[in-house]
């Protein structure tokens, strides 16, 4: 087996079984603020126990090991065709090892061949840069939280949301309210203001690559992120929708240019089982460092 494939299997294992530190810290903060004896507290206690168990047993945090999203930053000249083939083989092997569930279904026939390979699976995004470094990030996004994502076209008369940041605020909070506990909260929002229907969702998911504790370099978006986080946590939806103070763990908002006729706000919801890791690689495929 190639060194690259081994490294990719390790990335999959780690992503499926080990919650990143920034997410765990945020969950612990939530646990501390929920009231003793409530079902919200007991839900977060089970979640905390689950995080520890998954790591120690090297088994999936959640059985829905989700859509497999690779983000690859590579030097000019790296063979992307070969890389993609190695990634597919790594996914197949990781599925055999139980790091991934047999999770990919043919949408026409309904068949699940158990390999996790097929059109769109895994999903690979390549980005070339001038540096020699190769970095690979992986997000495993479960279906429950994917299903509560929402895309709005502004203006939205029902929500009295106009084409400005206040309008964005209204529709993003509406998405949180609509999701209730169904996205396995406490969750994290990845939002894109602008773009088209496809790129909007695509950009919204890239927000999940940001560290949970970072601050948005754009002061207006930063303010919006903080406002939505605070307001959402005042709605009383709580962990799993059981009621409580911890509805969201973070909000990340980016913007993409739009055509004058369109104004989309795309909201992706990430469950508490926020599985995201990344690694840097040497040219031979050996892991040289971890990114989260």
């Amino acid at each position: 087996m190639s060194r690259l494939r081994e490294s990719l299997i390790e990335l999959i294992r780690r992503t499926s079984a080990e919650i990143p530190d920034d997410v765990q810290t945020a969950i612990l903060r939530g646990l501390e603020q929920e009231k003793e004896g409530t079902i919200a507290k007991s839900a977060l206690e089970i979640i905390e126990r689950n995080i520890g168990l998954a790591k120690s047993k090297s088994q999936p945090i959640c059985q829905d090991t989700g859509s497999i999203l690779f983000y690859v930053d590579c030097r000019v000249g790296m063979n992307q065709v070969e890389f993609a083939q190695e990634a597919r083989e790594a996914v197949k092997e990781a599925t055999k090892l139980g790091y991934l569930r047999q999770n990919s279904v043919d949408s026409v026939t309904g068949k699940n061949d158990g390999t996790n390979l097929g059109p769109g699976s895994p999903n690979l995004h390549f980005h070339q840069h001038t540096s020699d470094e190769i970095s690979v990030r992986l997000v495993l996004k479960g279906g429950g939280c994917e299903n509560v994502g929402a895309q709005f076209s502004l203006p939205n008369t029902t929500l009295d949301a106009n084409r400005d940041l206040d309008g964005c605020r209204k529709v993003i909070l509406e998405a949180v309210h609509q999701a209730q506990g169904r996205g396995c909260g406490p969750g994290v929002l990845g939002v894109c203001i602008g773009g088209d229907r496809a790129s909007g969702y695509e950009f919204s998911k890239r927000e999940f690559l940001r560290d949970l504790d970072d601050r948005n370099p754009d002061p207006k978006l930063d303010e919006l992120e903080q406002d939505i986080l605070k307001t959402a946590n005042e709605l009383g939806i709580g962990p799993m929708g059981f009621g409580g103070k911890t509805t969201l763990l973070g909000v990340k908002i980016g913007a993409a240019n739009r055509v004058p006729a369109s104004y989309f706000v795309s909201v992706s919801y990430m469950c508490w089982a926020f599985r995201r890791h990344g690694m840097t690689l040497a040219n031979d495929g050996e892991i040289t460092g971890w990114l989260y």
Binding site: Q63, G98, R101, G144, C184, E234, G238
Partner: protein, 192 residues
């Protein structure tokens, strides 16, 4: 309040449970999710050796591996989102005598009405807690319809011990989900 619940369950026992009760479930549970619900709704029959009378149905698509001796081993088994089964659940509960449905995210009015009329509860497990919940599965007794539906969608027959869940819909017409939806709607209206 924490209750212990073992299958098979009587209607009387179910009627004692109230929204907010924390439950530890023991005994046999059967998994069933999207494919099973659609199949049963379309008139499909359960395999002869699957008896859901007084039983518990778990909305779950586990990760199950087979070891070198051919034994099944559950390595991850949290709940899946239940609302997708809303069109079917009430009828299936009545038809097969199901007393408890385990899932996540809650269900809506049709299921709530069936819980009240037939005597059943919705038991909310912790979504994503696949390891804690897999630890509560002490044995895989059998698997049904594996060929037809594939592993995540098959009917797995598990023995569980002290599986934690919360009653969020009871047999008296109460739903925590409706309650939280209304309260959070009010809270949002004040902050728009």
């Amino acid at each position: 309040m924490t209750h212990n619940l073992s299958s098979p369950i009587s209607e009387e026992t179910i009627r004692e449970l109230k929204v907010g009760d924390q439950i530890l479930i023991s005994g046999v549970v059967f998994t069933g999710r999207d494919a099973v619900h659609k199949y049963l709704h379309d008139g499909g029959e359960l395999p002869d050796d699957v008896n859901l009378d007084g039983g518990i149905l778990y909305h779950c698509g586990p990760v199950v591996l087979r070891d070198e001796n051919g034994e099944w081993k559950v390595t991850a088994a949290g709940p899946t989102t239940s609302i997708r089964e809303e069109p079917y659940q009430g009828d299936i509960m009545r038809r097969f005598g199901i007393r408890g449905v385990i899932g996540k995210g809650g269900m809506a009015d049709k299921t709530l009405a069936a819980c009240k009329e037939h005597g059943a509860v919705y038991l909310h497990a912790i979504g994503g807690a696949a390891q804690v919940l897999a630890e509560c599965i002490t044995k895989v007794r059998d698997v049904h319809m594996l060929e037809e539906f594939g592993s995540p969608e098959a009917i797995w027959e598990f023995e569980v011990k002290d599986f934690p869940a919360v009653v969020t819909m009871d047999s008296h017409g109460e739903s925590l989900h409706k309650d939280i939806l209304a309260k959070s709607e009010d809270a949002l209206a004040q902050r728009r």
